[in-house]
Every structure is written in structure tokens, then in C-alpha cells.
């Protein structure tokens, strides 16, 4: 006769039960403290986007700012240059004072990664390949930072912004309630927030509506539309006086007419450039340009010191608020484009949870009942293991901070079906041994031993498939692989070790009862 009683397997199983139930409680009760499973965007609703960064644009905008520095330097030092142009990744100009060549070259040398090609006094500036790569890389990391900053200030819960691959950005926004809110978030993310203060070309401003883009380019000008009325055009110098990189703050304020406006402040360098420029250009027009739209073009009445300015242009309060956030968190050096978007409304997520919970419960009840019907008490023991397995999966996921997605839910449902497999194999082996005339204790011990190699091999191969799924899967598929793997590992603990412990514990009762039909669902055939 077996001794029965407490054994090490039972102790481990008991610890697993306490662990499983204890750490899954926060998830079930949704307590404020403790690790919980977080729901994926497909279940709780939200926005998932994969953005591509147009890194070439970062190089173009860098060349523009180099052109601005050349202009500022030559103006300040009374060096005369002509035909300063920016074309894609090149800046060209001609130096008119040959005497100043050394002076100018000294200044250009200070700009990192700049390649200077000279044909006599005709300069062509470009970036070295190394500098181009560095610029692109910086543009991506800057875009990640900027978007993260903007979303943090927007006030959504737990936005996730991360770099993916070389030039992609993953943006995840849970907790978006309405499609309007989603659109506003997208607009905020995509806003280049590229502020430029530009000089109106006074000589040609009356030809704004008639001149072609190419003709304007030949004078070093660009044609920009008005923010409120796209038909209204301005001709401005293509090289800006200064841009938003010199901005330190932007706030929403109200004009005299109680219209929302954005007040911005420049840093000391920007303030100096702005002050110098306005002093020299009293009476001319200054265009305040945001993302290539002219918001206003006031006349410069006097030198503007202190480095502050105002953007007015018929914003709504919400718009002004978002533009101020975008300006504060900085311009995107390179624009972003949408590569992938998954947006799920909260009601759809709730429906998915409801449907998969229903499937999980029904599947569970079916398997539960079937096991008892077929195996008697042995089936019930397997069911206990299955229940503990479920708790373990939930608590391990909670502890790892894993996210439960819809395919992840399907993975759990599938685990319910597959986790009893080990017990089916073991019970079949035990029944076989009964037929060979073994007594109960022998049959159980030998049944577990015989079943082991099959269970291990089967589980390891399934685990291999799950690991590959994780390695090559994307997004929700990864969630599915995670729940599958945890389910398989937990089932080894509960279905093999746990049930074995239970049998050893209650063996004296089984031996005393003599009813194999009650305990194992079969009669001895002989």
C-alpha cells in the first residue's frame, strides 16, 4: 500500500496555485495596485501607426539653414555675394569680393561635414556622405523625441513612441475615445511646425499672382500662399531670415480683438539676428510663415528687440493650442509619412473581448465536462490542473507586463484545448497498464513514466513553432506566440507535475475504494 500524504510534487503544485491565483487577482479585480495584464490596442481601442521619416527632406532643410548662415555672415561682414540659391541638396552662390575669399572660407570651414567646391569664385556647397548619414539618423531620433514630446503634452494616457528599424517610428496611442480625437492626435503628430521668418521680395511683390514658380526661383524667391486664403500669394526670399530652431517658447494668447494668437520667444542668437534684420529693413514687409503658409506679413515699423513675436491667423482655440505644442516641442526636421495604421474604436474592442470571453468560457466548460465524463475523477484532477494553468498564464503575463491582444486571447483558448493533452496521454497509459493487470499505484507511477517522453517531445516541438512565431511575427502575432509559449510551459508544471502530486497524495483513498470506474472511468477488463 502507498503511504500517500504530502509530497514534493504536491508542494510545488500548491505553490503554483498560490502564485497563480495571487498574481492574477489584480487582473481579475482590476485593483489599482499590482501588476495587471494590459489590453492590446485591438481590445481596448486605440491608434497604432507605423510612420516613415522622409530623411531626404532633413538634408534639404539643413542646406537651407546653411544658406541662411552664409547670408547672415556675409551681410554682417559686408561681404558681397550674389545669386545665393538652395537647390535640393546643394547651395550655390558667387563671391563678388575676391579679397574676402579667405575670410569666407574660414567661416565655411567651421560648418561640420560641409564640402566646398569652388570654380574660381563660384561656390557649390554640399554635405559629405558621412554627414548626410548622420543628418538622416539625427532626423529620425529627433522625430521620435519631438513626437513623444508633443503627445506627452497632448494629455493622452501612456503614449508609446519608439524607433523601428532605420527610418521608421512606431506610435501607439491607447485610450483614444472618438474619431475626432484620433484625427487631432494625427494632425499634431504630422505637423511639421516649421516656423520661418522670411523677407517679402518688395521689388516683385505685385507680381505674386502672375509669376511662375520657376521664374521666382530664378530670382531666389519662392511663392507661398496665405493661410486663410490659398488663392492669395506672396513672393518671399527663399532663404529665411531665421527659423523655428531658434525658438525657446510658444504660448497661446489673445489679440486685442480677442482672437487666439501664438506668442513666441526667440533665443539670444535669434533675437540678435531678428533685431539686426528689422533695424536694417524698416518699412519692408516681414512674412511669418508656418509650414509653408503665410500667416501674416506686417510692415516693419522699427527695430524689434527682445526677440519675441506673434503668429495670428484666425486659429480656433484648439488649433492654437496644438500649434503652440508643436512649436514648443520643436519642428520635425523631416516630414513623416504613414506606412501602416490600425485604429480600433473602443466599442469594437469591447465587442471583441465579449466574444472571446464567451468562446473561452464555453470551450472551457465543454472540455471540463468532457474530461469528467470520460475519465471520472482522473478527469476532474486534469480539470483542476487546467484551471491552475489558466491562472498561471494570466499571472505570468501580468508579471511580465505582457499585452493581451485578440490573437493572444485565441492563444489562451487554444491552450485550454491542448493543455489537457498531457493528461489524456497519461490517463490512456494508466488504463493500458490496468489492462496488463498492474495495481493502481504501479499503473499510475508507470503511466507517468511511460508518457513522459511523448509529452516532452510533443511540447518542445510546439514550443519551437511558438518561438519562431515570436521571432518573425509582428504586433498581435507576437502576443499570440507569447500566450501559447507560457501556456505550454505552465501546462508542464500543472498537467504533469501537479496531477502526479495529487495522485500520490490521495493514493491510499484510491486503493481503498477499489472502484476504478469512479476514479479512472473504466472497469478492469479481466
Amino acid at each position: 500500500m502507498s503511504k500517500g500524504g504530502i509530497n514534493y510534487r504536491l508542494v510545488i503544485f500548491f505553490i503554483a496555485i498560490v502564485f497563480g491565483v495571487g498574481f492574477s487577482l489584480p487582473t481579475f479585480l482590476q485593483t489599482s495596485k499590482g501588476a495587471k495584464i494590459s489590453l492590446g490596442l485591438d481590445l481596448q481601442g486605440g491608434l497604432h501607426m507605423l510612420l516613415g521619416v522622409k530623411t531626404d527632406e532633413a538634408i534639404k532643410s539643413k542646406m537651407k539653414s546653411i544658406a541662411s548662415s552664409v547670408k547672415f555672415f556675409t551681410d554682417n561682414n559686408d561681404i558681397v555675394i550674389d545669386t545665393l540659391r538652395v537647390k535640393d541638396e546643394l547651395v550655390t552662390f558667387t563671391l563678388l569680393d575676391g579679397d574676402e575669399e579667405k575670410h569666407l572660407d574660414g567661416m565655411l570651414k567651421k560648418i561640420q561635414g560641409l564640402q566646398v567646391n569652388k570654380d574660381k569664385l563660384a561656390y557649390t556647397l554640399s554635405l559629405s556622405n558621412k554627414e548626410k548619414i548622420a543628418t538622416k539618423k539625427f532626423a529620425v531620433s529627433q522625430a521620435v523625441e519631438t513626437i513623444r514630446n508633443r503627445l506627452d503634452q497632448f494629455g493622452l494616457s501612456e503614449p508609446n513612441v519608439a524607433k523601428q528599424g532605420v527610418d521608421k517610428i512606431l506610435v501607439e496611442l491607447p485610450g483614444i475615445k472618438t474619431i475626432e480625437q484620433e484625427k487631432r492626435a494625427r494632425e499634431l503628430i504630422a505637423k511639421a511646425a516649421h516656423l520661418q521668418l522670411m523677407a517679402i521680395d518688395e521689388k516683385r511683390s505685385d507680381q505674386a499672382n502672375s509669376m511662375s514658380e520657376d521664374e521666382a526661383a530664378s530670382y531666389g524667391d519662392v511663392i507661398l500662399p496665405d493661410s486663410k486664403n490659398q488663392a492669395r500669394k506672396y513672393i518671399v526670399k527663399s532663404v529665411p531670415i531665421l527659423d523655428g530652431s531658434m525658438l525657446t517658447d510658444a504660448k497661446v494668447g489673445f489679440s486685442n480683438m480677442n482672437q487666439p494668437v501664438i506668442n513666441f520667444t526667440l533665443n539670444s542668437e535669434g533675437a540678435k539676428i531678428f533685431g539686426d534684420y528689422t533695424a536694417k529693413n524698416v518699412g519692408n514687409h516681414l512674412a511669418i510663415v508656418l509650414d509653408n503658409l503665410v500667416y501674416s506679413a506686417p510692415v516693419i515699423r522699427e527695430r524689434i528687440g527682445g526677440g519675441s513675436g506673434q503668429i495670428s491667423g484666425g486659429f480656433s482655440v484648439k488649433e492654437a493650442h496644438d500649434v503652440a505644442i508643436a512649436l514648443r516641442s520643436g519642428a520635425l526636421l523631416a516630414p513623416v509619412k504613414l506606412l501602416e495604421k490600425r485604429s480600433v474604436g473602443p466599442s469594437l474592442g469591447a465587442d471583441s473581448i465579449k466574444a472571446s470571453m464567451l468562446a473561452l468560457t464555453t470551450g472551457f466548460v465543454l472540455v471540463f465536462a468532457f474530461m469528467i465524463l470520460y475519465y471520472g475523477m482522473a478527469g476532474l484532477i486534469a480539470d483542476v490542473a487546467l484551471l491552475v494553468n489558466l491562472f498561471l498564464v494570466i499571472s505570468i503575463m501580468a508579471l511580465f507586463g505582457a499585452t493581451l491582444t485578440l490573437p493572444g486571447m485565441a492563444g489562451i483558448v487554444l491552450t485550454v484545448g491542448m493543455a489537457v493533452d498531457a493528461n489524456v496521454i497519461i490517463n490512456e497509459r494508466i488504463r493500458e497498464l490496468f489492462r496488463e493487470g498492474k495495481n493502481v499505484a504501479q499503473a499510475v507511477e508507470k503511466g507517468y513514466a511511460n508518457a513522459m517522453s511523448a509529452i516532452l517531445d510533443a511540447n518542445i516541438t510546439t514550443l519551437i513553432a511558438a518561438v519562431v512565431l515570436y521571432a518573425y511575427g509582428t504586433g498581435p502575432i507576437k502576443g499570440f506566440a507569447v500566450t501559447m509559449s507560457i501556456g505550454i510551459l505552465a501546462s508542464m508544471l500543472t498537467a504533469i507535475l501537479g496531477t502526479h502530486g495529487i495522485y500520490q497524495w490521495i493514493m491510499p483513498y484510491i486503493e481503498r475504494s477499489k472502484s476504478l470506474l469512479f476514479w479512472f472511468g473504466v472497469r478492469r477488463s479481466k
Partner: protein
């Protein structure tokens, strides 16, 4: 309760030609459907846009179609009912890279005047991302088959590994044939289901193979047919039971899981039936066809055992020598 009598040995191998013929017909039919009907790639792989809309009453599909297709860029959009009659899916191949104003916003504007609706889901997958996902999908399939091949080859023998992989290819082919036949949306979920199927079907096959390996060691019978018949019969009850429990839960997922998980559960439903069939009727006969010989295997095992005993002897001698 008991379904199969344990003492009965079924003669599976005697009829293996019939079963293999059925499998070949099914596989050929699957490739025929894959070729003629093709896979109905979802936007995950082909790129495109899906907008899911729910109305507060029956969705006016005709009006929706009129409203949307009058815009040139959405001319080729398909509009279908999705789950309940109140819900529809609008699908088109076009995507745009614009972050702030995307196709979802445009559809929302176009639908004005068709009734009270709520946009519940907007999925946009750019063509480049779709291509990448497809590449990764194929890669994951190939990698898991390779990994499984190596593991089974290491634990059993290469013919076992090859036989199990042939069974896997059999299952995946037929499941994909069914997907093509019923024009189920081939998306990331289906890929996950196919990979699960790989693991599941293999699980079944391994259990049978494990029994065959055990049978080889236990029996003196050198007839592979008898050993296979015996092992498959002994595991039959387990094979059917586990398949049944898994089938139950997949069926509930299929019936109650909702439209959004439909393609996943459909694939698994077909897969489990085929996977169970193949581990009993395809994988085991393959062993014979691949030229597995009991005599050679036993000889190898004996040689291996001899080497082990030899080594132990050597070690014992070495240790006593040292003493």
C-alpha cells in the same frame, strides 16, 4: 467511458494505399483551388485600406456604395456586410501616406447622409509594409519547418523527421486549399493559425512516432507493418480525444468568437481535422515508403548500446587503474 477497445489492433497499414490516395487527391484539389481561385490576400499582405462602419440600423449598403464610388479614387472599393447586418466593411487597394488626413477621414465625409453611423476600425497598410509582412510570414513558415526537422531528426531518425515534415506540408497545403476555396481573407491571423497548425499537427505525429519508437524496442517482430499498426491503434484513443477537446474550443471560437477572428478559427478548424487525419494515415505509412527498416534501426540501436557499455567499461577500468 471508453471509445476504442484497447485490445483491438486496427489494420491501418493494410489500407494505407487508399488513405494516401485520398490525401493526394485532396492535395491536388487544394493546389487546383490555389491556382484557379487564388488566395484572397487581406490588406496585411497586399496593402490597402479597410474601414469598418456600424450603423444604428440595417446598413444601407446600396447607398453607401453610391456615395463612395462616385469619388474617383474609391471607384474600386468593395462594400460587404460584416457580421451583423448593421455593420459593413469598406475595402480598397489604395493607401495614402498622409498622416493627418487619411482615407478613413475621407470615407467619413463621403458617408454623410447615409444615416447614423460610427467608424469602428480603420486599417491602412502601405504597399511596402505589406510586402515586408509577406516576406516575414513566408520566412517564419520556412524557419519553423527547418527547426522542427532538425529537432525531430535529432530525437528520432531522419526518416521520422522527413515523414513528419511531409505530413506538415500535407496539412498546410490542404488548409490553404480550403482557404482559397472559401475565399477566406488571408491575413496575419491566418498565418498565425497556419503556424499553430504546424505545431499542433506535429504534436499529434510525434505522439504516434514516440509509440512506434517504443514499439520497435519492445517487440521482437521485425515486420514494420505490424509495429506501426500496433502503435497507431494504441494511440488512437488519445489522438481522437485530444483532437476532440481542441476541436470543441476551436468550434466555440468559430461560432462565438465573432467576425473579426473568423479567418483564424476557420483555418484552425480545417487544420485540426486534416492534422489529425495526417498523423494517423499519412505520417506513419511514410516511414515505410521512405525505406525505414526495422532491422537496420535495431542494429544501429544495438551498436549504440554496445558503444555505451564499452565506454562504461573503459571508464571503470580507468577509475580502478587510478585507485
Amino acid at each position: 467511458m471508453q471509445i476504442f477497445s484497447k485490445d483491438k489492433i486496427y489494420n491501418f497499414m493494410g489500407k494505407s494505399n487508399i488513405f494516401i490516395s485520398i490525401s493526394i487527391v485532396l492535395i491536388l484539389a487544394s493546389y487546383f483551388f490555389l491556382y484557379t481561385k487564388g488566395l484572397n490576400y487581406g490588406i496585411d499582405f497586399s496593402g490597402g485600406t479597410v474601414v469598418q462602419v456600424r450603423y444604428d440600423k440595417k446598413a444601407p449598403i446600396k447607398a453607401v456604395r453610391e456615395h463612395i464610388t462616385k469619388k474617383k479614387e474609391f471607384e474600386s472599393a468593395t462594400i460587404t456586410q460584416f457580421g451583423s447586418p448593421n455593420e459593413i466593411i469598406i475595402r480598397f487597394a489604395k493607401t495614402s501616406g498622409n498622416v493627418s488626413t487619411d482615407a478613413g477621414d475621407k470615407i467619413k465625409k463621403l458617408l454623410k447622409g447615409t444615416g447614423n453611423f460610427e467608424i469602428r476600425r480603420v486599417d491602412i497598410v502601405g504597399p511596402k509594409v505589406g510586402g515586408e509582412l509577406r516576406e516575414k510570414g513566408i520566412m517564419s513558415m520556412v524557419m519553423s519547418i527547418l527547426a522542427i526537422l532538425i529537432y525531430v531528426g535529432f530525437r528520432f531518425e531522419w526518416r521520422f523527421a522527413l515523414a513528419s515534415v511531409i505530413a506538415l506540408v500535407h496539412d498546410v497545403s490542404i488548409a490553404m486549399g480550403a482557404i482559397a476555396l472559401f475565399q477566406v481573407d488571408f491575413n496575419l491571423d491566418v498565418l498565425a493559425a497556419l503556424l499553430t497548425l504546424l505545431g499542433y499537427s506535429l504534436n499529434d505525429t510525434i505522439i504516434v512516432f514516440d509509440r512506434i519508437r517504443e514499439g520497435i524496442v519492445d517487440t521482437k517482430d521485425l515486420n514494420l507493418f505490424n509495429v506501426i499498426n500496433d502503435s497507431v491503434s494504441k494511440t488512437l484513443s488519445r489522438t481522437i480525444l485530444t483532437s476532440l477537446t481542441t476541436f470543441f474550443v476551436i468550434l466555440t471560437l468559430f461560432l462565438l468568437g465573432g467576425e473579426i477572428i473568423y479567418s483564424f478559427s476557420f483555418t484552425l478548424l480545417v487544420g485540426i481535422i486534416v492534422g489529425t487525419y495526417s498523423s494517423v494515415f499519412v505520417a506513419s505509412p511514410m516511414l515505410k515508403w521512405l525505406g525505414f527498416s526495422l532491422k537496420d534501426y535495431k542494429a544501429k540501436q544495438v551498436a549504440k548500446e554496445k558503444r555505451r557499455i564499452e565506454r562504461e567499461k573503459m571508464r571503470a577500468q580507468y577509475e580502478t587503474g587510478m585507485m
